[in-house]
Symmetry: none
């Protein structure tokens, strides 16, 4: 698809805004979905004059994680471009991952006479875990010529980047987990699964030994288990693939990290959705494309809090006029996946999407909801088509063939 | 797609029922399709609370045979997994085909001085043909170390399995037809088209010679022509691919045979659709997945009998509450292809489908028909997506990516 798009790109001064209402899609409880239950006069009015539909993030029946969910709406086939566990964890903990890095998730664990007796070190409190991770960072800055970068996580979890001095082969991260998955077993060796993973394995073995030396007097967290070694996926940068200078506006590290994977600018910002929109206005002249991420809708869905999720949707609806004031050439509002409060988790359901531009039919949906969007002119379409549609609607794509 | 699904499978106690109303899709005569003309209060009520849509069995414009039609709704790409003619014929005639078999369709023919004068032996009556085939089976049990298994068919047709003592190479069935396609020509030689087909060719030549010796005094059926040599396709078993222990409930050998190709349990049962449903109830605790096949709707379509087809749909509608009583976690009702009475044949038209589970929107279609299903939340989707959707709706798929 990108091969088709790239030769057709023509630049112009148009502006494209992609608003991602994380996990916005839902399912009916007492007859109405979260979007249907929420009072959303602004979204509904916009839907009436937009091209609407539902996008399938990955494939029918597939529930996407946040990684594949975002890659799809950024225009990258999430099956072709898969993001390793270690990378996602590092991004989620706010680390900036580079091409020369191998990332890995770690657990603090309890080891006794060479046997893992607790894979999670009694789920030690986050505060305590953070102190240990900071101590490790203080004492281990380098192993051989490899820089080590630690990021504290929740409870027993943290992440480590192995930053090599030079570029890595594409299979350098091919290492199995050292986590034996069950208590009562010895940790597994980090046996390299490829020639180029050998140097990563060496550093991993040395790191594990060194950490044990430093932590051996700890009662619980006296060892580490590594899980999900991974490298940066080789993703063509967004600007190269689609000709758009792009800015990610997201307050959560994970989503900035995902945007950074595709080469968007990702300044660290904090605050509310209103603050995000203020930032959008400040930067509006500096970019072609804006990814604005609204997190809280998903969080309430994950908690199974139907009313809370609907209330967060209403909050966004009240702020929507501030985005409309910018009169962008193209405005897309959608989610990265559905998170029905009924399921308390991400789900496989297609996600409502609206696309506003001067070049749409409109007039097919009475509002913005899962059911109304089934009537729209976009139909049910794979998520990867949204960016090409944004490019077309901003007149940034030339004719294909004569 | 199966590569994507397999690592996501998680098992649970859910039950999935797939009802295939063979050839259910139709076209309007006097303004209504067969489904629209039939009085189907139960199907309509179910459609109102289900996810509805239309599935494309193979590809737009492609009219599927029963083989590809079923493979698609079983979750196998019917273009990737093609079933040879000989295999389908053998399955249709009730033979159990094994991995060590090569199957071939045969015609009785009339030969005179080495020239085929009638390719169908005057379409000899089925009774007479059956006797000849039984005679051949009596006199030819083995050729070299290859077991021969004959199955009588309609009129001049029958099928033969070559059962080899060992597994065959994947290209062992690569032999051309010996049928010259025109009267007045000599039969063609069974020249092997691959190295591994040589042993099949030898047996074929010996079989043809032997049959001629046995039948040489017959007035019409004194020779045989072979058509469509084929091996079992290499299809990943359903349980391995989708994690479902599955039972096929079908009274026609062809459909049991198709289910057996993908590794479903296929006990030989007889009787009406009501008997099939009784059997479903008896076996309900023993399986995860049930394929229930309703044949007669298609047969009336093939005969161009619009009212008869609508009446068979009404018959099923009356029985539907017995299936609903089971309260399966997921119920899918669809067809393997359309068979409009107007066309008196299978057709390329997308097939109405409804999927009932606790995790659907519903409320978009007023009933179960071709036109109402266009309004549903499933849209128009390739048939291979139905099994992934069934897995998702029974909560049998983990999240893809983090």
């Amino acid at each position: 698809m990108q091969k088709l798009i790239k030769p057709l790109i023509q630049k112009n001064d148009s502006k494209i805004i992609l608003v991602v209402l994380d996990g916005v899609g839902g399912l009916p409880i007492n007859g109405k979905t979260e979007l249907e239950a929420a009072n959303t006069p602004n979204l509904d009015a916009l839907a009436r004059e937009s091209a609407c539909g539902l996008h399938v993030p990955v494939a029918y029946g597939i529930t996407p994680g946040s990684g594949p969910g975002h890659l799809g709406i950024f225009g990258y086939d999430p099956i072709e471009f898969q993001i390793g566990r270690g990378i996602l964890e590092a991004l989620g903990l706010g680390l900036e991952v580079r091409k020369t890095d191998v990332a890995v998730r770690c657990n603090y664990a309890t080891i006794k006479n060479g046997i893992i007796v607790d894979r999670r070190a009694g789920r030690i409190p986050t505060e305590q875990s953070k102190k240990l991770t900071e101590k490790l960072q203080d004492e281990i800055k380098k192993i051989d010529d490899v820089e080590l970068i630690f990021a504290p996580g929740m409870e027993h979890r943290f992440a480590v980047l192995f930053r090599f001095p030079n570029d890595l082969e594409p299979d350098a991260g091919m290492l199995p987990d050292t986590d034996p998955q069950k208590e009562g077993k010895a940790p597994l060796p980090a046996t390299p699964l490829s020639k180029s993973a050998e140097k990563v394995a060496k550093v991993a073995e040395k790191l594990i030994t060194k950490v044990h030396e430093i932590l051996k007097s700890e009662e619980k967290a006296n060892f580490i288990l590594t899980r999900g070694f991974a490298q940066m996926p080789h993703i063509p940068p967004f600007e190269e693939a689609f000709g758009l200078k792009s800015l990610a506006i997201a307050t959560y590290p994970m989503y900035r990290g995902l945007a950074r994977l595709v080469g968007m600018d990702t300044p660290a910002i904090e605050g509310s959705v209103e603050d995000e929109i203020k930032f959008l206005k400040q930067k509006y002249n500096d970019y072609d494309f804006f990814f604005l991420h609204v997190k809280k809708i998903d969080s309430y869905g994950e908690d199974g809090n139907f009313e809370g999720k609907a209330a967060r949707i209403e909050e966004f609806d009240k702020l929507l006029p501030q985005i409309l004031e910018l009169k962008s050439d193209v405005l897309i509002i959608t989610g990265d996946h559905s998170t029905p409060a009924m399921l308390k988790s991400h789900s496989w359901h297609p996600v409502p999407v609206l696309l506003k531009s001067p070049y749409v039919l409109g007039g097919l949906c009475s509002g913005f909801s899962e059911r109304e969007c089934t009537k729209g002119e976009l139909g049910i379409l794979p998520a990867v088509n949204l960016i090409p549609l944004a490019l077309a609607n901003s007149l940034r794509l030339k004719k294909f063939g004569a």
